[in-house]
C-alpha cells in the first residue's frame, strides 16, 4: 500500500492517505521520465569530464595547473 501524508494547515491534523490509481500511474510515469532524464544528464557529465581530461592531456598540464592559470 502506497500512502501520502497530508497536513491540513487550518487544523494541524496529519492524515495518511492511500494513493489513488491515477496518482499511482502518475508516480510511475514520473519515475520513468526521471530515470531517462538522469541517464541523459549523467551521459553529458561523463562526456564533459572526458573532454576535459583530453584537453588537459593535450596541454600537458594537471587540473590543479589549470585552476592556477584561471585563478
Amino acid at each position: 500500500m502506497t500512502t501520502k501524508l497530508v497536513v491540513d494547515c487550518s487544523t494541524g491534523v496529519v492524515e495518511e492517505v492511500e494513493l489513488t490509481e491515477e496518482e499511482l500511474a502518475q508516480r510511475e510515469a514520473d519515475a520513468i521520465a526521471f530515470e531517462a532524464a538522469e541517464k541523459e544528464r549523467k551521459a553529458e557529465e561523463a562526456l564533459r569530464a572526458a573532454k576535459k581530461a583530453e584537453l588537459l592531456a593535450k596541454l600537458g598540464i594537471t587540473e590543479d595547473d589549470a585552476k592556477l592559470l584561471l585563478s
Binding site: T2, K4, L5, V7, D30, A31, A37, A49
Partner: protein
Amino acid sequence: MPVTYKKIASVTVTGATASNVEFTSIPNTYTDLKIVFSARNSTGDVDNVITLNTSTGVSSARRLYGTGSSVASDTAAGGGLATPSSATASTFSSTEYYFPNYAGSANKSVSIDAVNETNGTNAYSNLSTQLFTLGSAITSIKLAPNSGLYVTNTTATLYGISKS
C-alpha cells in the same frame, strides 16, 4: 515586537514510508512561505518535485548543482534533494524552499537551497529557482520524490513569514 516568522504546520514520516507530503489549506495571511525539509529516500539520488494547488507543476527552472566532483547547471524541475539509500545510515538532506509573495496574483516562484549528506565523495548540492504559472494564492504545496519513497523521520515544516 511583531512576530514575522511563524511555524504553520509540520509533518514527519513515522510509518515505514510515504510517497509524498502535502500541506493543504495554507492560510493567505502571510507575505512569504518557507519550507524546511529534511529527507531521505528509499532509492537512489532523487529530486523533490513541487506541485502547487493540486495540479500546477513547474513551468520553467534553472538549477546550479555540484556532485562532489564536478559542477554544472541545467533546467531540470527538481531542486530539493532527498538523501539516497546508499548514503551513510541515518543521514538526511537539508532543503529550504522560499516562496515570495505566495498570496498575490502574479505567477509564483520558489528559490531552493539543498544539500545531501553522506560520509563519501559524492553528495549533491543544488541552488535552484523555479517558476509556476499560477495567478492565485498558493493554498497547497506537495513535495514528492521523482522516484522512490520518503523514509521514516523525513520531516517537513512550513513557516509563514510576514513583512512586519
